[in-house]
């Protein structure tokens, strides 16, 4: 981090979470079947993933639960259930449905340079400034900002973890570049500067519970789908190109969006810990953009040119899922209702 330009902030003391995430509530037959296996019960029926809404609540929660075993796990679920064959078979069917939908919704393309260049222009004007960060910058209300942070907590409380899985799957030069970005995300050796820690500091200052997995029941499938896509690409070596594309999208687009959120938070009178999280990302991601392009994408394509189409797929699929979530949030807020499945105490209901 830079000092002097942004004065040191004394964040609230970090909470020590000894408890693991609780098991969420099922949202349909797929998630009910996965949750049954997690509890060590026979699934009530053999669910059919092929008929499910690939981006819907049920399939996305089922996938989230499968993936969580590879992260921190759930309270009361044995660690070794991560490798339960019944669960892995279910996960495979869910992934097949999700991935097939994304492949159908994202046109195939292998021009990485064009896909990256699209991200390096800043659209301005009435037709462009329509995203969530623009809304929160100019006119969003505090309850909407808090909902946004609750949605984002599904990823940021495990920030950089899905991308860490790709490390051993990369050739040497790209690996060195990617790890230097990950090192920064993980606080460059300082647990207090871990981005997940900065995010939790912000949540507490905004009056939101910051427990790992706390908001899973409250967020819709569209929120879970964004993070599930990262986990899917992180866990499958065959999708390593897509994982790098997803990571590039985040790092290349985060600086301007973070700047808008900083300004929105100042307008709303948010405290220093809240502002610090996005403030840190303005400068950090301006650097990460350069490293991703020069230190990861360029050497990866030089060594594995066949990954080009998957890199573009990762960029575009992550963008597609991000746009879906953004639209869902803005539509709900425009109608004066919550974008969450269960509203926060200070916001409107459904």
């Amino acid at each position: 981090m830079t000092t002097v330009s942004s004065p040191a902030v004394s964040s609230p003391a970090p909470t020590v979470h000894t408890g693991l995430a609780p098991l969420p509530e099922p949202r349909g037959p797929l998630s009910a079947a996965v949750l049954a296996v997690l509890r060590g019960e026979e699934p009530p029926q053999r669910p059919d993933a092929a008929a499910a809404d690939p981006y819907g609540d049920d399939l996305q929660l089922a996938l989230h639960c499968c993936y969580e075993l590879h992260y921190r796990g759930f309270a009361g679920v044995p660690d070794d259930r991560e490798w339960d064959l019944q669960l892995l078979a279910l996960r495979g069917a869910l992934e097949e449905r999700f991935l097939a939908a994304l492949r159908a919704d994202v046109p195939p393309d292998d021009d990485v340079t064009a896909a990256v260049d699209e991200l390096l222009v800043e659209p301005v004007g009435p037709g462009a400034e329509t995203g969530v960060s623009h809304h929160l910058h100019r006119r969003g209300e505090l309850w909407q900002l808090r909902e946004y942070v609750a949605h984002r907590s599904i990823y940021h409380l495990k920030e950089a973890d899905p991308q860490a899985w790709v490390i051993p799957r990369l050739p040497r030069a790209a690996k060195a570049g990617l790890v230097s970005v990950e090192h920064d995300e993980y606080g460059a050796g300082d647990p207090a500067r871990l981005h997940a820690t900065l995010f939790a500091d912000m949540m507490r200052e905004l009056g939101l519970p910051d427990g790992y997995g706390h908001h899973v029941d409250a967020v819709p499938g569209a929120t879970l789908a964004e993070v599930n896509f990262m986990s899917l690409c992180g866990l499958r070596r065959s999708l390593r190109g897509a994982l790098v594309g997803q990571f590039a999208l985040v790092e290349l687009t985060s600086s301007p969006g973070s700047e808008r959120l900083v300004r929105g938070m100042r307008r709303l009178g948010c405290g220093p810990a809240a502002i610090r999280f996005y403030d840190e990302h303005v400068e950090a991601d301006a650097v990460h953009e350069q490293i991703l392009r020069r230190g990861v994408l360029d050497p990866l394509l030089a060594e594995e040119p066949a990954l080009a189409a998957d890199i573009v797929f990762g960029i575009r699929a992550a963008g597609f899922l991000g746009d879906r979530l953004g639209t869902a949030m803005l539509d709900a807020w425009a109608a004066g209702r919550t974008s969450l499945r269960t509203p926060l105490p200070d916001g409107p209901g459904r």
């Binding site: 981090m1 830079t2 390096l120 460059a188 950090a284 020069r294």
Partner: protein, 77 residues
């Protein structure tokens, strides 16, 4: 062999490599101390620091991606 400043730590005794990007900031392997025209000195502890050269940044002397081409879109999509 000196490392590229975009990724890696230079070996002791090797000069700091400075990368001029054609479209954006100057990349300097950190940590660095930057002296400003008014005499103030700013430190960056980052492994790589991106210094603004387009003078459009809102966070001088550091890059905030304000060099990006702005494309005007009039109509709501």
């Amino acid at each position: 062999m000196p490392a590229d400043p975009a990724h890696g730590t230079p070996a002791p005794g090797t000069p700091t490599r400075v990368t001029l990007t054609d479209d954006g900031p100057v990349l300097v392997h950190g940590p660095v101390e930057v002296e400003l025209p008014d005499g103030r000195r700013l430190r960056s502890e980052r492994a790589v620091t991106a210094l603004c050269t387009c003078r459009r940044t809102r966070r001088p002397p550091f890059c905030d991606t304000s060099h990006r081409t702005r494309v005007r879109e009039e109509n709501h999509s």
